[in-house]
């Protein structure tokens, strides 16, 4: 127990920096409420389109990225920092490395969040899910993350406890991996201060994005929280973790396996078959370590199960671990190709995501806060009763969420794939499958509201708790400084190794880099592998601008652009997608959810007039549609002069625009706009339309799938 028994040297006294932890706790509570409010808002928008309020910055496509970013980086991010800074100091018996860095970290992170809130609703976005923030903010994130890392590793260097407890291993893996993920996925080429294009295109971009996207879940929403679990559950019940050995196996298996699992987001796409299989196999393997961790967490409670009933912190944490087990069972299941074929693009996926984010993250954060807040403010919790009410409301809301999305997802998927004996779709109109599940969207919105209310109850509970705290005390700790006496006489080489955090960090880095390398590098060489199809040409200047509107409005949050090679999809949409189609797509826009139909083959499906009316009010063309109106695109002028700059960046990224094409781009764009406007004018649309943004969006949609559609099905036309 006491490793200090035989220690020599001078005991030192010191304090912990709990002020910074308090700041992060308060930020967690505030941003948590914002993230949930946004979630509830977009849930209602899907149930009833009028909740888009016909205001550009309040529409679904703009708020959905804000919701996900707020939930992940603002709510969970601040919670992670609070929990890590609290436990890190105590596990190492050392104050944080630098109070100044802590403050820079805190305010820097809040600045990032505020910047996100000031850009995403205004359509300033890269269009890559969970990495939507534009390049200046990306740089800020990198800087602040480095500040965090210096503060974190500096504390390790200054520690008074030789051994690095397993929680810190998880933190180290988090810090290193998130840095790698963020930097690699955010490589982009600026067009202006608020606009950039991804360095990667098409299949490559998709692979890098989902390597990132999946590992953001793994290394932002899982590993740091597991580290917190390994600290706070033992603390809350005052007994050591059930099996420390299991925790080590848990750690290494997770770090090794998780990094490979990304391609399970891209099954049945044009991603190479072997990469898909790799993603699937590793995802199924993940089930083992995840459940090892769950068992370890729950078994730590053996003998003190009564506390689950009486102690809010224990109750929330036990529930969180249970949901972790559920979500990590469902995840591998969804990665199996045959299940994925049904579940992908449906509401089953948001259901799965929320059993993780609400069931695991929100619950664990609540558990940690119920432990932390009374300790930090040196008082008692205001009301256990409120905490229990919060618990039931949250659980109730979450169950409504999961069940409704599960039903909606499977219902819709079965309708999409239903075919009669003659090979015809039974529900050829996509809208039929939407109307069918709108009631489930209402149930989900009610469930989400219940979770939001539960959160507000917690805020109130903590507000009262903090208010009643009166005496300000500072605790002074004492421990020996590290010297030769802190190493056990017969320590093996391995133990010394474990005592050297830098080597450890390098090892975890190698583990994730090996996985990432094997997964990503071949696709970075994709140019050599993808068979070019000569019919596929870059977008025209006008279409390029229209594509940016598509990204800006977040159309990808509801529409996919990739047809899977399945009979029902080919019948519904058209030819299955080909990797060669996407080589000029910086960024790719395959999407991840089909709230609306796939658009990869939308070009030429309807006349311009159809789109004109549809964007003005989707319900004019499709009764019962839940797509928002985009009326502002009808009176926003098209900034023609900005087009050459965009093309020049694209040219640098390898899109074969000639200088001549760039020089004449403005005129070309105007000419193309005029042909569209002229056609519309025949139906009585005012001619001024040629100057408005809507023409560029129509031009883009009308281009989708056209080039590849002109290629005969037999690959006779292909050239290397």
């Amino acid at each position: 127990m006491s490793s200090n028994q035989m220690r020599t040297g001078k005991p030192e006294t010191f304090t912990y920096d709990d002020e910074i932890v308090k700041k992060f706790v308060i930020a967690t509570l505030l941003w948590g409420a914002v993230a949930l409010l946004l979630g509830v808002t977009i849930a209602f928008q899907l149930a009833e389109w009028r909740f888009n309020f016909e205001i550009p910055w309040l529409t679904f496509g703009r708020l959905r990225p804000l919701h996900t970013n707020a939930a992940i980086f603002a709510f969970c991010g601040n919670a992670i920092f609070a929990g890590i800074y609290y436990s890190h100091q105590r596990l190492l018996k050392s104050r944080l490395f630098s109070d100044v860095l802590s403050k820079v970290h805190f305010w820097g992170w809040q600045l990032i969040i505020v910047s996100a809130a000031l850009t995403l609703p205004f359509g300033i976005t890269t269009g890559k899910e969970y990495a939507e923030l534009e390049w200046p903010i990306d740089i800020l994130i990198t800087v602040i993350w480095v500040v965090f890392a210096v503060n974190f590793f500096g504390t390790i260097i200054r520690r008074r406890e030789r051994h690095i407890y397993v929680a810190i291993w998880f933190y180290i893996a988090t810090i290193i991996t998130v840095a790698v993920l963020h930097i690699v996925n955010s490589l982009e080429f600026p067009v202006s201060f608020t606009k950039s294009y991804s360095l990667y295109a098409g299949v490559q971009d998709a692979l890098v994005q989902w390597w990132y996207g999946h590992n953001a879940v793994a290394f932002f929403l899982t590993t740091p929280f597991l580290g917190l679990m390994y600290y706070f559950i033992p603390k809350a019940v005052n007994r050591p973790v059930y099996s420390y050995r299991l925790s080590i196996i848990h750690f290494w298996s997770l770090v090794f396996i998780y990094i490979w699992a990304g391609p399970h987001h891209l099954l049945y796409t044009t991603l190479p078959e072997w990469a898909q299989t790799l993603g699937m196999v590793f995802s199924v393997m993940l089930w083992m370590p995840s459940w090892g961790g769950m068992i370890n967490g729950l078994m730590t409670l053996r003998g003190v199960w009564n506390k689950v009933r009486t102690e809010p912190s224990v109750r929330f944490m036990a529930t969180a671990v249970t949901f972790y087990g559920m979500a990590t069972f469902e995840g591998p299941l969804l990665s199996i190709k045959s299940v994925n074929a049904i579940a992908h693009f449906t509401d089953w996926i948001p259901g799965h995501v929320h059993s993780g984010t609400i069931g695991w993250n929100y619950m664990l954060i609540s558990g940690i806060l119920f432990y932390l807040v009374p300790k930090l403010w040196n008082t008692e919790l205001y009301s256990k009763k409120l905490a229990h009410q919060q618990f039931w409301l949250a659980t109730f809301g979450l169950v409504l969420y999961i069940v409704s999305m599960w039903v909606a997802g499977i219902t819709q998927s079965l309708m999409w794939r239903a075919m009669d004996d003659a090979g015809r779709l039974i529900y050829p109109n996509f809208i039929e499958t939407v109307i069918k599940i709108v009631p489930m969207y209402w149930v989900r919105a009610i469930g989400g509201t219940s979770v939001l209310i539960s959160f507000i109850i917690m805020m109130y509970n903590f507000y009262r708790t903090i208010k009643q705290a009166s005496v300000k005390e500072e605790t002074i700790y004492e421990a020996y400084a590290l010297d030769a006496s802190s190493i056990e006489a017969h320590a093996s080489a391995h133990r010394k190794l474990e005592g050297v955090p830098m080597i450890f960090s390098v090892l975890s880095l190698i583990a994730i880099l090996v996985g990432s390398g094997i997964e990503i590098i071949p696709s970075l060489l994709a140019d050599k592998y993808i068979v070019k199809v000569s019919a596929i040409k870059p977008y025209t200047p006008l279409e390029l601008h229209g594509r940016d509107i598509y990204i800006k409005e977040g159309c990808y949050t509801c529409h996919s652009q990739t047809v899977r090679p399945m009979a029902h999809e080919v019948v519904r949409y058209g030819k299955a997608s080909n990797a060669a189609e996407f080589v000029y797509d910086h960024p790719f826009q395959w999407g991840s959810k089909r709230t609306g139909p796939d658009l990869a083959r939308a070009g030429g499906k309807y006349p311009h007039m159809w789109h004109y009316k549809h964007f003005w009010d989707p319900r004019e063309m499709t009764a019962g549609s839940i797509m928002p109106r985009y009326h502002w695109l009808f009176d926003q002028k098209l900034p023609y002069t900005g087009i050459p700059a965009k093309m020049r960046v694209m040219q640098k990224l390898g899109v074969p625009y000639t200088d001549q094409q760039i020089a004449s781009s403005i005129d070309d764009a105007k000419a193309q706009a005029k042909t569209i406007a002229d056609e519309l004018a025949q139906s009585g649309v005012p001619a001024k339309l040629a100057e408005m943004e809507i023409v560029s969006l129509i031009a883009y949609i009308q281009r989708l799938g056209i080039d590849y559609g002109s290629v005969p099905d037999e690959p006779a036309q292909e050239e290397k």
């Binding site: 127990m1 051994h163 050591p240 050995r245 078959e273 790799l278 071949p522 990797a579």
Partner: protein
Amino acid sequence: MKQQALQHFDMPWLPVSALILFVICFIIYFWWTYRSQNKNFFQQMAEIPLVDEVKHKRNLYE
């Protein structure tokens, strides 16, 4: 057609070597973790979070 593009991507040695690599690593750390020599050490490690070496409290208003 899709298959056409994919054939050029084919590199089965990659997942296989990945799998072998993973299995080797797993065996090594499993062996290390469950060696009986390390048992006491791990018990000691598990206690780390529970040892808060409190000295005394200071009232900041004093």
